[in-house]
């Protein structure tokens, strides 16, 4: 009986092509476990010990997967002709294939926890069998069992895909990877991916760039096995690390400021973070401006002016009628010298005219906020006009130059504002040690990407999602790759900002329940709003995804002493 079945299989084998063997072998290994050469394969001319069958099958599968994934990525490397010295020795053949594909000078071993220990003395290129068995067993063997349940061995699809991979064997692409990849258990690979990322960062920190290089490539391969948010985050971080290793720094920021505006618009539309920031800040400003007839807002982060229509409308409808509203917008210089600020100002002016609010706009172009002086901004005395200063995701850039933040805070004080609203990312990406920064950023942006992924239940506009990711990707690149004055994404936590503001002479202003309710409602309107959380933190509002706060809005006023000082100096 068994013989007949085997004979049938043999006939099928002859009919199929040679690489369908991968699947057959897995079947064979279930049936025959002799100590001698496997009979059926011997018929075909391959000498494989039956005891080796499982391992050979594994290696072949890894080979196929590795081929498959690199082709997906579109990585076409140099092709070499692999020379098979002894094709009938299947085990050895696969071994030589795999070692061809592993060209690095490092062999790494993963211990039980998946952490990488680099083997500094060892410069061999051969991955021994031991390595394969060192792979945590469950992942590998589970897959084998799964494969065995697949009914149709020689289905045409598997045949054709295997045949193309077979063809690829002839001109094998060189894949630089530290070890063959087992793309089986996605969750396990996910954990491994995170560990590899962290190990790579550590290597970079220790300036061990060879190891880092190998790990970065490995990340690329592992990342492909993931899906969704994790994959994208890993890809961005891998790119940033690669840039750091090869010292290919991203182009100068000033050239791309208009592109950044576009990206931020898409980010605005995809997820609630910016809307939350704008609405909560506006609420604070609105409350500060009650009973004022002339108001002046200085906006450090004008971009497209998306924050202000809602404020203008709220001012129009406030009891007692709207005040005279003056807006001063500050923005970076545009590469093509267009006056983007004036255009935004003009549009806001049109809106204000439509709904009947007296409006005036001035724009100031500055490379950095520290270049400005309060006197340029034409601040009127506080009896006549109430001033508010607004900064959304801008203040942290000042931390890249020493003394800049103090200068700007002093300028703000000299403006004698009624309220200062600050929205910043809730994360510490400004640690001195690179590794700490990296780990913190990894967690932060993973959560961010997660929320982006989940907030679009149906990808109504995929382009928005992609552009938002690019927007975040640039931040990642800046945090990881750049150093010194180039590294502008120096986010700090709310507690750190609190200390800084207190030291500079500001008192916190509590944001109040109106802002909280409005923010909660806004979030409830977003599909996927279940994941977003609004938290109140000692008068400040934080928006987070599940348990992790991601951005924080806070409001400040001058301490009484400061206020009287400013009045005297005006």
């Amino acid at each position: 009986m068994k013989r007949d079945r085997d004979r049938e299989k043999t006939q099928q084998i002859h009919g199929g092509n040679s690489s369908g063997k991968a699947k057959i072998w897995e079947h064979e290994e279930e049936e025959e476990k002799d100590a001698c050469m496997d009979e059926l394969l011997a018929v075909l001319g391959y000498k494989v010990k039956s005891s080796d069958m499982a391992e050979v099958a594994n290696k072949l599968e890894q080979l196929e997967m590795a081929m498959g994934t690199t082709m997906e990525d579109g990585i076409t490397h140099l092709s070499t002709d692999t020379v098979h010295k002894n094709p009938s020795d299947l085990s050895g053949w696969v071994q030589s294939m795999l070692s061809e594909l592993n060209n690095t000078s490092i062999s790494t071993n993963f211990d039980e926890n998946g952490l990488v220990e680099s083997n500094k003395q060892n410069r061999t290129t051969i991955i021994s069998d031991d390595d394969l068995r060192a792979i945590p067993g469950g992942a590998v063997f589970n897959n084998n069992i799964h494969k065995l349940n697949e009914p149709d061995l020689l289905s045409s699809e598997s045949g054709s895909s295997s045949s193309t991979s077979n063809k690829r064997l002839r001109s094998s692409p060189i894949i630089d990877s530290a070890r063959p990849v087992v793309l089986v258990d996605s969750q396990e690979t996910g954990v491994r991916l995170v560990h590899t990322l962290m190990a790579c960062a550590e290597a970079v920190q220790q300036e061990n760039f060879n190891l880092a290089d190998a790990l970065v490539r490995h990340i690329g391969i592992l990342a492909v096995s993931q899906s969704g948010a994790m994959r994208k985050v890993a890809t961005y971080f891998a790119e940033a690390l690669a840039r750091r290793i090869y010292k290919i720094y991203p182009p100068d920021n000033s050239i791309e400021s208009s592109y950044t505006d576009v990206l931020q618009m898409h980010f605005y539309e995809t997820c609630p973070y910016l809307k939350f920031a704008h609405f909560t800040a506006n609420q604070a400003i609105l409350e500060a401006f009650t009973n004022c007839n002339k108001v002046h807002v200085v906006d450090f982060s004008l971009n497209q002016g998306m924050q202000w229509p809602a404020l203008i409308q709220a001012l129009a409808l406030r009891p007692g009628g709207p005040p005279a509203f003056r807006l001063t917008g500050i923005g970076p210089p545009q590469p093509d010298n267009t006056d983007a600020l004036q255009q935004v100002g003009w549009k806001l002016a049109q809106l204000a005219e439509t709904i009947g609010v007296e409006f005036e706009f001035r724009g100031f172009v500055a490379n950095s906020l520290a270049d400005l002086d309060a006197s340029i901004l034409d601040i009127k005395p506080s009896e006549t006009e109430a001033v508010a200063v607004n900064s959304v995701f801008e203040l942290h850039r000042l931390l890249s130059r020493p003394g800049a933040i103090e200068k700007v805070l002093n300028s703000i004080k000299r403006m004698n504002p009624k309220i200062v609203t600050i929205v910043e990312q809730e994360a510490n990406h400004n640690a001195v040690v690179f590794l700490d920064r990296f780990n913190e950023a990894l967690h932060y942006y993973s959560t961010m990407f997660d929320s982006l992924e989940s907030s679009l239940t149906q990808p109504v506009n995929n382009q928005d999602l992609v552009m938002s990711e690019v927007y975040l990707g640039r931040q990642i690149c800046n945090v990881v790759t750049c150093e010194g004055s180039d590294r502008v994404e120096r986010h700090e936590t709310l507690s750190q900002w609190r200390v800084r503001m207190n030291l500079s002479g500001f008192d916190p202003v509590h944001l109040g329940s109106n802002a909280f309710k409005q923010a909660s409602m806004l979030l409830a309107l977003f599909a996927g709003g279940d994941g977003y959380r609004v938290e109140e933190n000692d008068g400040c509002l934080m928006l987070g995804w599940h348990t992790r706060p991601l951005i924080a809005t806070s409001a400040w006023q001058l301490t009484a002493a400061m206020a009287s000082c400013s009045e005297l100096t005006q």
Binding site: Q304, P309, Q458
Partner: protein
Amino acid sequence: MGTNFFINDNQDVLIEILKRLDGRSLGVAACVCKLWCGIARNDSLWEHLCFRHVSQPQEGVRTVVLALGGYRRLYMVCVRPVLNRLRKWRPIGMESDSEIVRRVYWTRHEVELSLSLFCVDYYERVLLGGGGGGGGGGGGGRHGGDGARTTSLMFLCKAVNV
């Protein structure tokens, strides 16, 4: 006794009836015939619909809303999605489910939020040239002709899994 009562001859009665309908029915009514369509498109009907359950309609709201596109658009773009979504949402402090589901009144906060979103919609649509627009998911847009829906409020258009 053959005094037939034709509703179309008594438009004031028709208007009174339409005033008491909900949004969807008003939309359906607009599809009946040209006369009904003309009447149903009257913005004051939609104003009534938007604000009939708000305790005190603020002064000046009408000017603003009319300037930003009218009550019918306000209803379609903001009020309806806000009410639909928030009806199923349990705000802090609400006890029973049935109270939420059957809630018809809406609070000052929701009014303010809707108006703000409406303003943002106007800004994006008219002034920023409406990035992308259109393609909104569930509901709305049936009364067409008001131009593409702006993308910032796309999140309001997405169907909510009830």
